[in-house]
Symmetry: C2
């Protein structure tokens, strides 16, 4: 049996997405095998024939076939061609997947309509580090060292708090880099800050503390997650000094989640008097502070502010992860709670998954012990600073009107347009910018109360040339919006100079 031409694939090269023709073709071939259009034993069309039929280069087809072979779905037979393997299960009888799931439930902080993403050449969504820079060689070297000496106990059912080796390494690391007061015994390794929050949410709910103060603007993913666990997010304003602790005191909430080192999305650092206000609130209400230290490792111009946990370890649950230093896909983080909460949180962790996966924990411990994590962060910090500087320089040139915040740290910054307040909706503005091929988050997406329009610009994953290009396109779209609303198209905005955003 032979498949001829490309009809069985039912696909159109014009619909191929940006992720590459090879992936697109390999996916289509796999789908055809899985739903029975390509039966076991079928010979695939010659690469030349299929390439001509689809109007793609022959290399694309060769590579797609190779992937199927690598995956064991096809094999090469000399003189015959590429044959679909036996023993694969056809799923012809199953119903089609739910399309809302097929595209993937959006992750925290990046739930973006597909149609915008699809058209954008430059994606400035915040929240993702430069994954092309993931230290693959160091990771693999560390994994080799770990596997060489891992004991049976390391691979068995372990302590639900996680590997004691990693907890010891992290306690030292966090003491050194974040000023933390951390005891390895009082630490839970979690699958990311999202899980830390899920465990804390279960504790809060069981304690009857259903109202939880959240930053506004702030992470939408955090609000959604709290709601899932039966809690009520109470928005508390953020200004150029960070969370408004006067509003917090009036909110009645006895728990608060915040990002003091580099507020998401405004980028402000919590000011000293606000830190005091926060700790006063926690002492007066016996409140719990949940400190999400999500990108504190990237601080460019001064030494980092120590974590709040260092000032009040019995009031603060500290959560961090490798999502911004290494990769979100690792799902590897830590939770350092007030000691009184430890037993309940360990019980929640045990009832959730018994404990986190062992090997990545041991690899991270090794990367800390050898100094390679620190080396990697230093390298990335340097690269990030260069990107931030290029972005700022381009904005000084093309968007001198914008007010900039959050430049001192992190992987994103915020620009606001106070003078456009009431005249331009930032969601529309982001849509116009999207039409110019640049994906940015409108500030309003992250807040529950109206304020001046703004845009959140993540600069972690692009070269300086791309960032300059992006700013030119943003400036064009902003000028267009401005003209449409009767402005002059330049020098319209008031606010702090680009390089010295308030509180950043």
């Amino acid at each position: 049996m032979s498949a001829t031409g490309s009809d069985f694939l039912q696909l159109d090269p014009a619909s191929a997405p940006g992720r590459g023709l090879t992936t697109w073709l390999a996916d289509a071939l796999r789908a055809a095998i899985m739903d029975g259009r390509l039966a076991a034993g079928t010979t695939l069309p010659a690469t030349r024939v299929l390439a001509a039929d689809l109007g793609v280069s022959r290399g694309v087809v060769v590579e797609a076939y190779q992937r199927l072979k690598d995956e064991g779905m096809a094999s090469a037979r000399h003189g015959v061609g590429t044959i679909i393997a036996e023993g694969l299960c056809s799923l012809g009888g199953t119903s089609p997947p739910d399309p809302s799931l097929a595209q993937g439930t959006p992750p925290l902080d990046t739930p973006w309509p597909r149609r915008w993403r699809a058209g954008a050449d430059i994606d400035l969504s915040p929240g993702v580090p430069d994954l092309a820079g993931f230290p693959r060689a160091a990771w693999l070297r560390a994994e080799r060292a770990v596997l060489a000496r891992a004991s049976a106990a390391d691979l068995g059912y372990g302590d639900p708090r996680g590997s004691d080796r990693l907890r010891r390494e992290l306690a030292n690391w966090l003491a050194r880099t974040r000023g933390l007061r951390a005891d390895p015994e009082n630490m839970i390794i979690v699958t990311g800050v999202a899980q830390a929050l899920a465990l804390l949410a279960q504790w809060l709910r069981a304690s009857g503390r259903t109202d939880v103060a959240v930053e506004d603007p702030g992470s939408r993913g955090t609000r959604d997650e709290l709601a899932y666990w039966g809690l009520r997010p109470v928005p508390v304003g953020v200004d150029e000094h960070g969370l408004r602790t006067d509003e917090l005191a009036r909110s009645g909430a006895r728990a608060a989640i915040l990002t003091p080192a580099h507020q998401f999305p405004t980028g402000v650092v919590l000011a000293p008097h606000r830190r005091r206000g926060l700790l006063d609130w926690a002492a007066a209400t016996e409140g719990l502070v949940i400190e999400d230290d999500y990108d504190a490792e990237y601080r460019y111009d001064r030494t980092p502010v120590p974590a709040i946990q260092a000032s009040a370890p019995d009031r603060v649950a500290y959560a961090g992860s490798t999502s911004k230093t290494l990769a979100p896909g690792l799902r590897l983080g830590w939770l350092i709670p007030p000691r009184a909460l430890l037993a309940d949180l360990v019980a929640a962790k045990h009832a959730s998954d018994l404990g986190s996966p062992a090997l990545p924990q041991l690899v991270l411990a090794q990367l800390i012990a050898t100094g390679e994590l620190e080396q990697h962060i230093r390298l990335v910090r340097k690269r990030q600073r260069g990107r931030r500087d290029a972005l700022l320089a381009a904005m000084r040139e093309h968007l001198p009107q914008a007010r900039v915040q959050g430049v001192a740290a992190g992987l994103h910054l915020l620009i606001t347009f106070p003078a456009l307040d009431g005249r331009v909706d930032d969601t529309e503005l982001a849509e116009r910018i999207g039409q110019a091929g640049v994906l940015v988050h409108p500030l309003s997406r992250h807040r529950s109360r109206p304020e001046a329009p703004g845009l959140v610009l993540g600069y972690a994953v692009h070269t300086t040339d791309q960032l300059r290009d992006a700013v030119r396109r943003i400036a064009g779209a902003v000028a267009g919006s401005d003209r449409r609303t009767g402005g002059s198209g330049r020098a319209l905005f008031v606010g702090a100079p680009v390089a010295a955003g308030g509180g950043a």
Copy 2:
């Protein structure tokens, strides 16, 4: 500054536990560093001196020092010795850890008193595979291949259901090995069966189905986990045909968790008429069957029974993992729910941890695609069969009275002593066996209603010689119990012959 002698360690070699003198010494040194007894810059005693002081071999001290150096806690300085590193955090001020946590919350199915574990040379606890056989080289090779081609998207925030590559591989794998009807779109990669159960428990609770039938005897960990999530485990009896579906029908529960391929702990395979009874119950009550297929890969004498999910994919939530084929520490499993539950379960997964760690998923996909997982399982199955056969032969010789169940599959079997019913408590019997240096689970530990005394014997991690030795010691302890209760000491028990336990 120099530390002399061993006083600063405050330890006694006689108290060193079985895990090895090196680990014990390295842990003690780390503790001394962490709580400030060994300050930064301190020179450790010469290895010869400390070894003599502690009465251990010099190699133990050399190796312990080397570990500290590997971890970056110490460094060698030529002509001086081993120096405690700078920049480590002293925790002198923190309170001592909660001892109940320090020893680790016990994992599912192995919560065993420490004092028994400590004395046992041969641990026959069920539930853990032979971790010394973990395929380290294949895992590392697969990880190298994965890192070589992982895209930024692979390392980013992904689909909460998990890697689509792994889901496709697993759908084929499970169709082939377990007869499953699995669509990759309708599968959630989870951090083990415990997480699958946690997600389902949240759905059951939200649906108001708080009564959940569980096997009795059955997994204690499962019962505890259900209770954590606010559900009520309703024990339903297990006989030589598996779960008693007549009792299930009378229980009123509209959800049931079971281990049909190799019941835990009795080892029976659910009989065909009980499978029918189970599906009739599910159809009549719109009940949910949760199928925990925990060690179905190990079937020694016949072809495996297909999963129940294959008969009723709209009534069965199927859960499996790599805990018994590779290692529990991987925390890597899958959940294939009735399609109607998918969206709610994906929401629960997203709110719990956003999705499972990416790299181990891609490595597993690679191991399936290359055939190395299958090869590994085939090898382990052969080794396990040899161990099982040795255990059975030894029991025929030394324990001819015991009735044996669950020999056809899995990593453990059950022996019961019907003739001792009412005369011997199996917890006491297990304690006597423990005093003889063999750790076994008494059957009563896993059930809520009294029945004939029994012992669960896991044979996965020991050589045939060790297993023969264990049986001799068990037989001695049983004979002792028997004499104490007035028996003759041999040929006392009635029941099926050792090699043909009922229903196994």
